[in-house]
């Protein structure tokens, strides 16, 4: 009896020590741990089950499929990353540091491609450049073979450069002009100062943006599948389609390893250089483009046309044709309703899941809370197809009741995208001093009361903004949706995929246009977030 009591006392003391002497309440910590476990479950399950795939299958795949997939995936990721980094950095400098006419409009326009899912962009450019596309019909030839490496490179670069553009743009604004002025006072001309001081100082931002692009390319399924270019994600998807879950899991493990390497590289670049923000810095002086103004404007117009105007025009054209043919029928609105339902549920669950995670991280920092947060990011960092594989395998074996329901799909979205809500809610919570909590306690509120009456109201705007981001991501999501949707439960994204693979563009364009329209709305939220961090 005594021994049990002592053991319990020791455990309590240890638990308290883990939390730095201020352990959170039992409900809160249990809920937090539960969320962390659920979020990591699909990924963990893939890794664990892959061990049962059999040595023979592992060897066959490693010998046969993996080398060629590694080459096709890495060459594409590398090429897209380099091109996107160059384009994004150039455009960011052009918009933030020169007297380019119409900067305010360009600044916004260059970010708009983020609202166009790459698979929608791929569909639009198949309409333009494809073997039976517009250019072929009008001119008899096409400058770009869409169903090739070049096609995948083109589409992914055009729709991912904004990652670099936004991160570098934010870094330029934060940098201000002081370092360049220091270089000027040390005898450098304006262009030399930009080259020798500003660009090196932007290197971490360029690297961070490039890593986002690389991670995206590793995770992309829709665009590469539409241009029939095989990477790990599409290979995994087609293994699942052939009911070869074990092989899909083996390939997933390799892709997880690849992603982890890229994430590790990010950690290294992040640590290497610390650029301290200058609170009093004044904005840097804009360069006069002079006689290059015409060229810069032409370049901006071309980028705007390729990344926004052409795809939107294609979608609008085919939607208009579709409208004439009755594409906006009851079925269409049912798909839209399905989408709203499942994405809305995912957004709601994500907001609920975000609160305890960010609260523990901010107010009870410890090994446990940072572990919970890391686990929660697992599904966000890894490709959606892996989350889907894990959930399917787990669902079939262990929770057949949930498998094949819309709830399962919403859960996949939560695992994939809840970290977006966590980032937003966390940023709001960071603005609320822990002293406010303490003040509320002194005024007589219990810890739960503080959470309900102080923390939740104060972080609500950030949490809602995060929920909106989750909502839009869920609307656009393709691979997990295709694999996990209940039979007959089509969403807008699914319709785009099904109809465009049959080249029925008048039925594919309306849902695609609706997706793009809904994605533009929270773009401002996204821009603000890039501006802040």
């Amino acid at each position: 009896m005594r021994a049990v009591a002592t053991a319990r006392g020791t455990a309590t003391a240890l638990w308290s020590r883990v939390w730095g002497g201020r352990p959170p309440g039992g409900w809160l910590s249990s809920f937090g741990v539960l969320i962390g476990l659920v979020m990591v479950l699909p990924v963990w399950y893939v890794v664990w089950r892959s061990a049962f795939a059999g040595a023979e299958r592992w060897l066959r795949l490693l010998d046969d499929r993996v080398p060629s997939l590694l080459w096709s995936t890495l060459s594409l990721a590398g090429a897209v990353t380099v091109l996107a980094a160059i384009a994004g950095t150039l455009l960011a400098i052009l918009v933030h540091r020169t007297d380019l006419p119409g900067r305010r409009v360009w600044r916004w326009l260059f970010a708009v491609p983020l609202a166009i899912p790459p698979y929608v962009g791929a569909m639009a450019y198949i309409v333009v450049f494809g073997p039976r596309g517009w250019l072929m019909r009008w001119t008899g030839s096409t400058p770009l073979d869409m169903y090739s490496f070049a096609g995948a490179l083109f589409v992914l670069t055009v729709f991912t450069y904004p990652y670099v553009y936004l991160v570098v743009g934010a870094a330029i604004s934060r940098l201000g002009g002081t370092h360049e002025e220091a270089a000027r006072s040390l005898g450098l001309g304006p262009v030399a100062a930009l080259r020798r001081v500003t660009v090196p100082m932007l290197r971490p931002a360029i690297g961070a943006g490039a890593i986002l692009v690389a991670l995206y390319v590793l995770s992309d399924f829709g665009a590469v599948a539409m241009v029939r270019y095989t990477t790990f994600t599409s290979a995994i998807y087609y293994q699942m389609g052939g009911f070869d879950t074990a092989s899909a899991m083996v390939l997933s493990v390799v892709l997880i390893a690849l992603t982890l390497i890229v994430l590790f590289a990010e950690g290294v670049t992040r640590r290497r250089m610390r650029v301290t923000g200058h609170t009093t810095s004044r904005p840097a002086e804009a360069f006069s483009l002079g006689r290059w103004k015409g060229l810069a404007l032409a370049l901006s117009a071309i980028v705007g046309a390729i990344s926004v105007a052409v795809p939107v025009a294609v979608l609008a054209y085919w939607s208009w044709i579709g409208a004439g043919l009755g594409a906006f029928d009851d079925r269409f609105w049912r798909f839209a309703f399905n989408t709203l339902q499942v994405a809305g549920l995912a957004a709601l669950l994500s907001m609920v899941a975000a609160l305890p995670v960010v609260y523990l991280r901010s107010r009870h920092p410890s090994v446990v809370s940072s572990l919970i947060e890391k686990l929660a990011y697992a599904g966000y960092a890894l490709p959606g197809v892996i989350v889907a594989v894990g959930l399917i395998a787990f669902g079939v074996r262990h929770v057949p009741l949930l498998y094949g329901t819309a709830g399962m799909l919403a859960l996949a979205y939560v695992v994939r995208f809840a970290p977006q809500a966590m980032q937003s809610a966390g940023a709001s919570l960071a603005l609320v001093s822990p002293k406010v909590d303490e003040a509320a306690r002194i005024q007589g509120l219990s810890p739960g009361g503080v959470l309900a009456r102080v923390i939740v109201p104060l972080t609500l705007p950030g949490t809602l903004a995060g929920g909106a981001l989750v909502f839009v991501s869920a609307i656009k999501e393709l691979p997990a949706t295709l694999l996990l949707r209940p039979i007959g439960f089509d969403t807008l994204a699914v319709r785009v995929w099904v109809e465009s693979s049959e080249a029925v563009y008048h039925l594919a364009a309306p849902p695609a246009l609706l997706i793009v329209a809904m994605s533009v709305l929270p773009l401002k939220l996204l821009l603000d977030r890039f501006g802040k961090d």
Binding site: T178, H179, E181, A182, A183, R184, S185, L186, G187, L188, G189, P190, A193, R196, V197, P200, M201, R203, M273, R274, V275, T276, H278, T279, T280, S281, E285
Partner: protein, 350 residues
């Protein structure tokens, strides 16, 4: 010879209704340390940036080393002005180590020798391979100074260099900076809003307000004999009394009695004036001619700041700030006597 000269320089920022710098003329002699002192928005930073070449004057001209660098038809960009600058928060290049920062854009042939030399001057020998984020705030400041001095500029400009340092460090850095500048024989212009920094480091203080110069003088002159209410108030706190020049011409008859004054601008007896009497110039003295009741006391360690209520001749009362020696015991409600010492009494030109 003046290393820096500003002639009737005016700067109006686009969209602003009043000039940031308003036909300002100033010259800084070789080897001098000058501080532009004033509250935020007084135009001191703009003046510094006009000298550096980061702003263009709308009127007037700027000369450095006798050559016009900005003015009608003349423009020399910052990189060719032969200036060094130490920025607020230092603006060290985070991607370069200490030697890389100090040797930035120095000619290759004597780069390493010059880097060694200036690092020795600022006492940072041995820190060459450290990155900026690996050294302390005071060390960053020294690197910024070394970098500014490395190219042997005619003049070094300092934009609020002490603002980012904590209180202890800034006191020691002031003395250190002055020693280094004097050792290097460099002309220096500081911008500061802190009077104690300005008093400690400068040969000459230029007090600015609304884009104009209020007073130019040595730290002693500016503190002891402020010319205007603004200077009297901004550079240390003071008591302002209305009164008339006394019959002897060397005292002022004020509302609380007569105060001897060495700084009357030779105004004729009877002229109505305002006189500034620093709290340091009021000494508690049991025999003193002025009587008052202590209203408030603040013990600062170096002194006791007391507010004393004094009765005027007409029966009304006013508050006077008095410094007492920290050893004395001053309690609220006490009736005290004090007298006016002549040292910190100055007639203000109205």
């Amino acid at each position: 010879m003046a290393d820096i000269e500003l002639r009737d320089v005016t700067k109006i920022y686009p969209g602003a209704s009043t000039p940031a710098v308003d036909s300002l003329s100033l010259s800084v002699d070789h080897g001098h340390i000058v501080t532009l002192l004033g509250p935020s928005g007084c135009g001191k930073t703009t003046t510094l940036r006009l000298v550096a070449g980061f702003e263009r004057p709308d009127a007037g001209s700027v000369l450095i080393g006798g050559a016009v660098v900005a003015g009608p038809g003349a423009w020399v960009p910052p990189e060719r002005r032969d200036i060094g600058m130490v920025f607020q928060e230092h603006a060290l290049f985070p991607h370069l180590d200490v030697a890389g920062n100090v040797g930035f854009n120095l000619p290759k042939n004597d780069r390493s020798a010059r880097v060694d030399e200036v690092l020795d001057l600022v006492g940072l020998t041995g820190f060459e391979r450290r990155m900026p984020h690996e050294i302390s705030g005071g060390q960053q400041q020294r690197v910024a100074l070394a970098r500014a001095l490395a190219r042997r500029p005619v003049v070094v400009l300092f934009d609020e260099p002490f603002a980012s340092l904590d209180a202890d460090l800034r006191v020691s850095m002031r003395a250190e900076l002055r020693r280094i500048l004097k050792a290097a024989g460099t002309t220096a212009v500081f911008v500061s809003h802190d009077q104690s920094d300005a008093l400690a480091i400068s040969d000459t203080i230029v007090v600015m307000r609304d884009g104009r110069i209020e007073q130019v003088g040595t730290p002693r002159e500016v503190y002891q004999f402020p010319h205007t209410r603004f200077v009297a108030d901004f550079v240390g706190r003071t008591n302002l009394f209305e009164g008339r020049i006394g019959t002897d011409g060397r005292s002022v008859e004020t509302e609380i009695g007569s105060a001897s004054c060495r700084h009357t601008h030779s105004l004729p007896p009877g002229t109505p004036v305002v006189v500034s009497v620093r709290a340091d110039s009021l000494e508690l003295d049991a025999e003193g001619p002025i009587v008052g009741r202590v209203k408030e006391t603040t013990y600062t360690g170096r002194a006791i700041d007391a507010v004393v209520e004094v009765e005027r001749a007409d029966g009304t009362t006013r508050d006077v700030m008095v410094h007492a020696h920290p050893e004395q015991v001053v309690v609220c409600g006490d009736i005290v006597r004090f007298r006016v010492l002549p040292d910190f009494v100055a007639v203000i030109e109205e």
